[in-house]
Symmetry: C2
Subunit: 307 residues, 2 copies
C-alpha cells in the first residue's frame, strides 16, 4: 500500500494529507441550518452536516492531494450517526481515488488488536461470505502495548495490502511526559522508532515499508534523528499549521529524494474559509480549502528546495 | 462514579467485572443460525448474534456482579451493525443496574481526546439540545500521549460523574517491551502509575478516585508495587482465567480492606458453556456463565482470606 501512496504523492507533487476532522464550529451556518432542517437538531443532523461539509472539501481537493486522514474521534463523538458519516466519507474518498488514512490510534492485546485491524483494514468472514467493515487504506496505531498489539495489524497489512503509521513522537505539548524519558541514555521514542523499523521489515513494499511512523512537525530535531533510525518508514507528520509547525520545520522528515514524509493539515485546510488569509473566497469552503492546499504545497516545496 | 462501583461491589460481594467480548466462536450454533435466518449471513446477522448472546449473559449475571466491560474492538470489527450492538448492550446493562466499563483504550491529543471523552462518557450539545452518544460509566484510556491526552477525559469525569481506567501495565506477554524499560532505574509503568495517582487527585470520589488504572493479573509482583504507588486508584485487573491469572495472583492488587481492585474475566465466563468444567449445564450459555461467576468469586474470596 505504501507504494500506492508514493505514486499518488509523486503524481500530485504534494506530500500532503488533508485531515478530515470536522467540528460544528468549522461548518458554515447556512449548511448547518440546511442539515438540521433535513435531519433534525440532533446527532443525525450534525452527522449530516459533517458529511456535506466533508463532501464539499473532498470534491475540491481530490485531484491535488494524494490522501486524506479522517480523525475517527470527531465522528465517534456523534455516536452511530457520526460513524455512519465516517464510513461514507472513507468510501467516497476512495471512489475519488484518494488514499484514506484512518486516524484511529487503536492498540490492544493480541486477538483484540486483530479485531481492530480486521475491522479497519481487513475483511470479516461470516459463514463463508466476506465483508469489509470500515476499509481504510492505512490506520494509525498506538504502540504502548508492544509487539502483541502491533503485529496483528501488520498481519492484516500483509494479507490485504494495507498500511499503518505507529505513534512514535506525537505533536502535542505533553508528548514528552513519557515519550521523551531516557532509557539507557536514549528517549523512549527512539526505542519505539527502532521497533517501527524492525516491524517494518516484515512488510516491505518497494523501498519503503507499509509500517510507517507518526512524528509531530512540532519536534523537528527529533524528526531528524528518527528519520535516520527508521530508513524504511514513511513518516506521517501532524502538527503543521494550526499546531505551529512550518515548512522549514518539515525538511528533516524527508529523505534526500524528497520522499519519506507526508504532512497533515486539518484545520489549516478545512477551516481555511474562516481565516482572514482566504477572505477573498467569501466563505466558499471548497475553494478556500483548495487554495490552502496550494499555499501549503508551495511552503513545503520552497523549504525542500532551500535545504 | 467510583463510589457507585464500590457500592455495587460491596452489595454483590464480588469484585468482578464480566468482559462482554463476543466472538462468533463463543456463540452456540443454534443461536447463530437463528440470527442469520433473521438478519442474513452478514454483518447485521453477526451483530444480532452478538446482541442475543450478550443479552443471555446479562440476564443471568446482572444480580451477582457489579459491572461489565464490553470490549469495543469486537463490535467495531463488525462495523456499524456491530457498534449498534455495542450501544444497545451498554444501554441494556445500565437498565439492569450494571456499571459499564467501555474497554475502548482511546487516547489522542487535546481536543481529539475531548471528542472521545464526550462521545463515550459525556454529552454532545447541538443547537442547545443535549445528547449522549455511547454513555458508558467508565472508559479505559491509553496514556502514551501524556497529560494532554488524559486530562480531557478527567474533565468529562468531573462534569458528568464518570470514571476512567488508565493503562499502566497491561496483561499481554510483550507489555514489557516499552512499559518495563528502566528510566532512572525505575520501569516506565511505575512513572505512569505515579501520574495516574496525580491525575486522580483531581477527581476524588470518597476514598478512591474516578481515575483508576489497568494492571494485568499476569504481573502480580508489579501489581504489589503499583498498589502502593497509587493508593487512591482503583485497579482494573484483566488477565484472570484464560490469560493465566489465578486467585492467588490477585491478592496484591487489593488493599487490606478488601477494596481497591476489580478483576475482569471474559472468555472464562461468557464461553464457560463450552468448557468441560461446566458440561453439566448442557450448553446453556447463561447458566454456565452464572456458575463461572460463582467459582471465580469463591476463588478470589478464598485467596483474600488466605493472605
Amino acid at each position: 500500500m505504501i507504494s500506492k501512496l508514493i505514486d499518488r504523492i509523486e503524481s500530485t507533487g504534494a506530500p500532503i494529507v488533508v485531515g478530515l476532522d470536522p467540528k460544528l464550529g468549522f461548518i458554515p451556518d447556512d449548511l448547518k441550518k440546511k442539515c438540521f432542517a433535513e435531519k433534525g437538531e440532533n446527532l443525525e443532523g450534525a452527522a449530516e452536516a459533517f458529511w456535506q461539509f466533508n463532501k464539499e472539501i473532498i470534491d475540491n481537493i481530490y485531484d491535488v492531494v494524494p490522501a486524506v486522514k479522517p480523525q475517527i474521534a470527531m465522528y465517534e463523538e456523534l455516536g452511530i450517526p457520526g460513524l455512519i458519516t465516517f464510513k461514507k466519507t472513507v468510501e467516497y474518498c476512495k471512489e475519488k481515488g484518494l488514499i484514506v488514512i484512518g486516524d484511529i490510534k487503536r492498540g490492544d492485546i493480541g486477538s483484540t488488536s486483530e479485531s481492530y485491524a480486521v475491522g479497519h483494514l481487513g475483511s470479516v468472514t461470516i459463514e463463508g461470505n466476506t465483508f469489509k467493515s470500515f476499509d481504510e487504506d492505512f490506520a494509525t496505531v498506538n504502540p504502548y502495548l508492544g509487539s502483541d498489539g502491533v503485529k496483528p495489524f501488520i498481519n492484516v497489512c500483509n494479507k490485504e495490502d494495507k498500511g499503518i503509521f505507529v505513534l512514535v513522537k506525537t505533536s502535542n505539548p505533553s508528548s514528552g511526559e513519557f515519550q521523551d524519558r531516557l532509557i539507557d541514555g536514549r528517549p523512549l521514542y527512539e526505542l519505539v522508532g527502532e521497533q517501527v523499523e524492525k516491524w517494518g521489515l516484515e512488510s516491505m513494499d518497494g523501498s519503503y515499508s507499509n509500517v510507517g511512523a507518526v512524528v509531530g512537525a512540532t519536534y523537528p530535531e527529533m524528526g531528524k534523528i528518527l528519520r535516520d533510525i527508521m530508513p524504511h518508514a514513511y513518516i506521517l507528520v501532524p502538527g503543521y499549521g494550526a499546531q505551529g509547525g512550518k515548512g522549514k520545520d518539515l525538511v528533516n522528515f524527508f529523505n534526500k529524494d524528497g520522499l519519506g514524509a507526508i504532512v497533515n493539515s486539518s484545520r489549516g485546510i478545512i477551516a481555511a474559509w474562516k481565516s482572514e488569509e482566504y477572505v477573498q473566497y467569501d466563505g466558499n469552503v471548497g475553494a478556500a480549502a483548495r487554495a490552502a492546499v496550494k499555499v501549503m504545497k508551495e511552503d513545503i516545496e520552497g523549504a525542500l528546495l532551500a535545504r
